[in-house]
Symmetry: none
Amino acid sequence: MAPLAQDWTYAEWSAVYNALSFGIAGMGSATIFFWLQLPNVTKNYRTALTITGIVTLIATYHYFRIFNSWVAAFNVGLGVNGAYEVTVSGTPFNDAYRYVDWLLTVPLLLVELILVMKLPAKETVCLAWTLGIASAVTVALGYPGEIQDDLSVRWFWWACAMVPFVYVVGTLVVGLGAATAKQPEGVVDLVSAARYLTVVSWLTYPFVYIVKNIGLAGSTATMYEQIGYSAADVTAKAVFGVLIWAIANAKSRLEEEGKLRA
Amino acid sequence: MAPLAQDWTYAEWSAVYNALSFGIAGMGSATIFFWLQLPNVTKNYRTALTITGIVTLIATYHYFRIFNSWVAAFNVGLGVNGAYEVTVSGTPFNDAYRYVDWLLTVPLLLVELILVMKLPAKETVCLAWTLGIASAVTVALGYPGEIQDDLSVRWFWWACAMVPFVYVVGTLVVGLGAATAKQPEGVVDLVSAARYLTVVSWLTYPFVYIVKNIGLAGSTATMYEQIGYSAADVTAKAVFGVLIWAIANAKSRLEEEGKLRA
């Protein structure tokens, strides 16, 4: 990956700094929330809720790492004119943390959704494998482009990654439609919301990726990229997780009231 | 944001330092208290109590960050005259942590209160969304003014933020009045106390904000601002949380005695 641009203002640097700290706080607190809710759902939904917290825990770890890497990559201090100045320190900013995170968390996010839907065992296993592998392949194909500055090579890997990505999104929108309709009343809307939140939040990633493809460069491009990925991550993992908890909670209530077969 | 003033005395610097450490101790210990109480309340109030602890956990994280940022922003040592001297180190003091914190915690504080009131499901969802969004918008509109030194621009954003703020406070005072009256006997007073504590502690924020608007500048303004926000935060999150726990506890007792429908 090319070194960071040299043209950072304190406001730009600070915006990324605070977006990354927001990531730590959002992911960390979501993790605790999911795990504290474990005793309040029935056994059938505990694995889904455990994984929901695992995803945000992995993200908390990576946001700490990205934050520290961001701080180490710059020198920030008072300039001669009395205003804050930001210069590149020479220590690399390791953006690969994001890809390592996604490789682990993106398949797990899909597994959460499939588990909380509680489909027949065979369908669960089949969907978990195909969606899990397709989403991991998406992340793996995106990475060679992310570390490139050659725009045509970036576009090539972007297009490659879009193939399994479109398959995953297509399965979420069309393939899971019939299964969603069979969910118990009072839960159908929540499952639909979780599916569409996944689709919408995931669609932001290919757009953030092409911020640099369309020729935006320097500090502005990196700022939009970092803030964009952070906002998409919090939505796709923590906010999505709250929906998974809401589904698990609603279905547990129905089970306890004898309205849903355990 | 403008760099810190250069005119700090050790006493002023130290007052902020200790107020921030008080924030860490108060928020951190409140978090543990709320979560240790979880098994002592009935299932109906566990989500409210979990969120109460999530709010103080997020605040604990941010008070650690603000404290460390405060320490890094100054050099403190013995001066030539044998007294302690405080000089600005050049490392920025990142006050944006407070806004990131409020963006996450202020909507959650309102959700706590709504959940512990245990209103009909539809009303709960509707109130949580409208109050949650209005309070997040309040914080978002306050920030552009906070990082400004131009007094007229500060007043402009202050006024903008006051619009959703007045809506939230109005809903707490008037809108929730009827719902409070329907709370079980022995709990009505506690719910009223929680509502009015929110209103009173929240009203301190716009006043602390205008410390700098009214022309107070330099170290004195920053000292009042930091101590004011810290005191308001501990009241609005930890003390308010104790009231939420007291309500959850009282209603759990009534449920267990069969005096309140679970």
